[in-house]
């Protein structure tokens, strides 16, 4: 209320009120706020339920109350048949191996109820999964980083490049069972590798490749153009510039995303079911080899497939449930450790290179 010529001082008597007034807009705001909030809490609730169940039930298998507090049999033995029997009025649960020793010692024949896969432990599965992860990661990183460097540093933008990118993206949407079938057709049958570590490595690597390539491209793009230009202006060749001033700084990002990607496919059962995993194998991968390179052409046991076997392929009872949850717990722990390691790695490398 001012005129062009004279400016009146604002009337001090009526200060502007900031007090809230009820309104429609505010009501809607509140409703949506609660919808969003409930959605988030629901997800948190679901995932904590899953994790807690696995941790609680799996913990009973993995931990024990007496020294050394870890169920060493479960962590270090192969899966075996469980014998449940009564002997001299006492109830025993024993893995096959222990049972034989027990029987030998007593020199008597004892009648037992047996449960397949419910005794012993999961050591070969842990070994197999770790090997699958390491091998497929090495392959995926090598192929993925190479092609990412080509795509983002060397190739000229255009229709061809877009087509390549699009097909890589689409690859990420292919269901894992398709990769499994592809692996069987390509590696197991056509290449004649059989059900083997190699076939599993390549199948898993192909599955994780889209993640590795996109992550690598993104990390490479995040490196300031100035670093490349500065290197080139000092007489570096393109590859020298990339090797010395792009890759080292992109590596933390590439590694973290790739490791998380690998941790995720490590949990897939479908791609290894037909290519690498055995339901049971007596020997560890490095045992009983004729030639050293047979190592690559032997199948392994793996945690996700083991979970599948003990929870879907054999008769269910209280003893198999222990195995299921124990295995799931160990598997979760391994995957979480891998993810954690990659995060720590990133923090370390980030603090080393900063711009």
């Amino acid at each position: 209320m001012t005129t062009a010529t004279t400016v009146q001082p604002a009337p001090a008597a009526s200060p502007i009120s900031f007090r809230q007034k009820p309104s429609r807009a505010k009501l809607i705001e509140r409703i949506f706020f609660w919808i969003f909030r409930c959605g988030t809490y629901f997800i948190v609730l679901c995932s904590s339920f899953i994790f807690l169940t696995i941790a609680y039930k799996g913990g009973q298998t993995v931990f024990q109350t007496s020294f050394p507090f870890l169920n060493m049999e479960f962590l270090t033995e192969s899966p075996q048949t469980l014998h449940v029997f009564e002997y001299e009025g006492q109830k025993y649960e024993m893995s096959d191996q222990d049972f034989r020793a027990f029987r030998e010692e007593r020199g008597v024949d004892i009648s037992t109820t047996t449960y397949a896969h419910s005794g012993g432990g999961i050591w070969p599965c842990i070994v197999g999964t770790v090997m699958l992860v390491i091998g497929s990661m090495a392959i995926a990183l090598t192929l993925g980083v190479l092609s990412a460097i080509f795509l983002s540093e060397y190739s000229r933008p255009g229709r061809v490049l877009n087509a390549v990118r699009l097909s890589i993206l689409n690859l990420a949407g292919v269901p894992s069972i398709v990769f499994g079938i592809f692996g069987v057709g390509m590696f197991v049958l056509a290449f004649g590798w059989g059900t083997s570590l190699m076939a599993g490595w390549f199948t898993l690597a192909f599955m994780v490749l889209p993640i590795v390539i996109s992550a690598s491209e993104e990390s490479l793009r995040a490196i300031p153009q100035g670093l490349r230009e500065a290197s080139l202006a000092l007489g570096a060749s393109k590859w020298t510039a990339i090797r010395t001033n792009v890759l080292p700084y992109a590596m933390p990002g590439i590694l973290t995303s790739s490791i998380i990607g690998v941790a995720r496919v490590a949990g897939e059962t479908a791609p290894i079911m037909f290519t690498a995993a055995f339901a049971i194998r007596d020997q560890l991968p490095w045992e009983g080899l004729d030639r050293w390179y047979d190592f690559f052409f032997e199948g392994v046991m793996a945690l996700p497939y083991h979970i599948y076997v003990v929870s879907a392929k054999i008769p269910q009872n209280e003893y198999t449930e222990r195995m299921q949850y124990g295995t799931a717990f160990v598997f979760l722990f391994i995957v979480a450790s891998i993810a954690l390691a990659s995060i720590l790695l990133r923090i370390r490398m980030r603090s080393k290179y900063r711009w």
């Binding site: 100035g226 230009e229 080139l232 202006a233 000092l234 570096a236 010395t244 700084y249 900063r354």
Partner: protein, 279 residues
Amino acid sequence: MSLVADKITLNRPKQSTDSMDSDSSEQARPLIRVSDFDFFYGDKQALFDVNMEMMENEVTAFIGPSGCGKSTLLRCINRMNDLVDVARIGRGTIEVSGANIYDPQVDTIELRKRVGMVFQKSNPFPKSIYENVVYGLRIQGINRKSTLDEAVERCLKGAALWEEVRDRLDTSGLSLSGGQQQRLCIARALAVEPDILLMDEPCSALDPVATAKVEELIHSLKDNYTIVIVTHNMQQAARVSDRTAFFYLGKLIEMGQTEQIFMSPNNEQTEAYISGRFG
């Protein structure tokens, strides 16, 4: 003609072999010659028929309003524009000591070793000060500690940075102040022992004190290097350069001795721009 062979010619004592002796300079020899140069980004023409010469051991300043193609021409001199996918030359040549640098035979690596560049935004590598300076040597496979130590001291002194950083050569180049970073980038460029230094607005991010240091540095570098500098600062151009070239809308409007350009420009547009009555 190979660029390596030319280097020998270059380091010979000056002699007036070239018939192209322009105006008042008695013994200045053109080291860079741009002839009939047209340059495009895609369909958009950025440079129109540029003809100019830059003299050995002189400072040439490029001035002109934003977007007139100063950086473009500068980046053409060490073929930095090769990195831009859409960039292409329409017509003309750029010669460095007589050799056409856009000849297919030319090795861009050799060219860039001889034509160093300092960028507008200082861009030290996220490495130690020491490693920043010796980078250009290391990639040539020079790894002898004594050679590198010697180069670090010489180049940092050359870039007037030695006294400030001699005690912390192993700290990150990024821990330096903006002005120090820019001088580090200059030191890094000196380590390769180029003949020509291209500087694209080297002081645009610096405060007056740091700017004065860099300008002083440019003065002292003139004896050993041929310098081309892009600047938006008229006083700076007047202070540091021997010759000034004024660009407008991709065309070289006027070029001459700096005093002449600033005191008595021949062209109206030049006069308008220099006196700040532009556009």
